[in-house]
Amino acid sequence: MKRHLLEAADLDRADATLVLDTAAQIDQALAGREVKKLPTLRGRTVVNLFYEDSTRTRISFELAAKRLSADVINFSAKGSSVSKGESLKDTALTLEAMGSDAIVVRHSASGAPHRLANWVRGSVVNAGDGTHEHPTQALLDAYTIRRRLGRLEGVRVAVVGDVLHSRVARSNVRLLHTLGAEVTLVAPPTLLPVGVGSWPAEVSYDLDAVLPKADVVMMLRVQAERMNASFFPSAREYSRRYGLDGRRMGVLGDDAIVMHPGPMNRGMEIAAEVADSPRSTIVEQVGNGVSVRMAVLYLLLGGAPS
């Protein structure tokens, strides 16, 4: 494994499989245990450096680090010296001077973790940067698919919705391709990025045509906070053409699953009856996120400092 996890492309097939296998072993080892804690990273310090709001990712990383007995420092831009104008670099150097071994960073600017990785000696884990990548989300999605369907090779995954702004989609396309899955992106043309033709994925504008063949439907959140231009005429029209409702769920194959990285807009991209159905892995994904992040932190930090 490389020292940092900045994007899904940092993982080749062997590394990605190692992360998933490690997560599975950790899951099995901790199942049903009273003490859900391992001594592996005792004495290591992990900083959660969050410049953007987050519930599940920050808590998930915090829990993962704590379950491995690392010390965790949570830093959010609000209420820190960032509001006094301190730069990312100065903040990072300050944190490193205090002895952090790894920095988990979320930033609204694409590429911020890459810059950070050049400034600090410890490991940097990208927890979402702008519209670029969110590699641990892709890992936990791949882990969830493998647990539910038993395989990744040849699995047909439809990624539906706001691909343009979605770092989840970007990381998933890359990682799922690495692991042998076949990805189809489904979105209105206005919500597909320039150059999507060069991605290792098919592109479709017609959700109803893709659904019957899909083993996995991954719904993306419509990111209202990034909708500064009119990408579609109205929420209702988007929902009718690209939302997953009960009728559309009906045409899915028997074993097909429905995923969503959260937070959901119920009634917009996904209907409540779909989100709460047995096909939905949405809650499972959150649980798997902790195991996968434990595996990542173990593999990056467990060994000798290089």
Binding site: Q25, A29, V35, P39, L68, L299, G302, G303, A304
Partner: protein, 232 residues
């Protein structure tokens, strides 16, 4: 990848590692046949010896369990749980359980505990892939756990296993069974059941091969001076 690479830059003379054992684990993915004919290698136990030794250890486990039943500290076979330490402790524990059942008619619970995340040498030697942890459904609370491993060397694996067990439950007692005790302990740990005691020097390595993992049963003593190259 890091966890593989770091094995090789580690000297087997390092006092705090179980160098001789790691040499064995590192080979686990290759078929290990034909090693006995290499120069500098002697056979400590043949396949027939391994079978005999496992049988004897099974008898000893039965005796100990039954003889203490009249006392009050430990129970009989029903309380016994054999926990193997991966890689090769796991099939050994299963074999012991099968022999105990064959000799006594009483089935014995078996499990495995992976100790990788409890090791004290991760920082020195880098991370490595994990092995499965499986425990009997009834858990290990109030049972008599016998840890099973292939080679007892520095004792650090056993220490890690004891730490792992503590997080899993609270057995009434923990005992240790090993196929080979090669000496050179670095911790106050001893085995309760030993298949074979082998005096070794630190520069030698003991290789246990089991059919389940390596395709054949045998125990070999290799001289590193002979240039076996098995630290790679």
């Amino acid at each position: 990848m890091q966890y593989r690479r770091s094995r090789s830059d580690h000297s087997f003379n390092d006092p705090s590692s179980e160098a001789g054992k790691e040499a064995i684990l590192a080979r686990s993915s290759e078929p290990a046949l034909g090693a006995s004919s290499a120069p500098g290698t002697t056979t400590l136990l043949t396949a027939a010896d391994v079978t005999r030794v496992v049988d004897r250890m099974a008898h000893q486990l039965i005796e100990r369990a039954e003889s203490t039943r009249e006392g009050d500290q430990t129970g009989g076979l029903a309380d016994l749980v054999l926990i193997g330490i991966p890689t090769r402790g796991a099939p050994l524990a299963r074999r012991l359980a099968a022999r105990i059942e064959a000799f006594s008619g009483t089935p014995v619970d078996v499990g495995t505990v992976d100790i990788t995340l409890y090791r004290d040498d991760l920082r020195r030697r880098g991370v490595r892939a994990l092995e499965p942890t499986t425990l009997p459904e009834a858990g290990i609370d109030d049972s008599v756990v016998v840890l099973v491993d292939d080679v007892l060397f520095s004792g650090r694996s056993v220490r890690a296993a004891l730490d792992a067990l503590r997080d899993v439950g609270r057995p009434r007692a923990v005992r240790l069974a090993v196929l080979v005790d090669r000496g050179h302990r670095e911790l106050p740990i001893r085995a309760d059941y030993v298949g074979k005691n082998v005096p070794t020097s630190r520069s030698q390595s003991v290789k246990v091969h089991l059919t389940e993992v390596d395709g054949a049963d045998e125990v070999l003593l290799a001289d590193h001076g002979a240039g076996q190259g098995d630290r790679a």
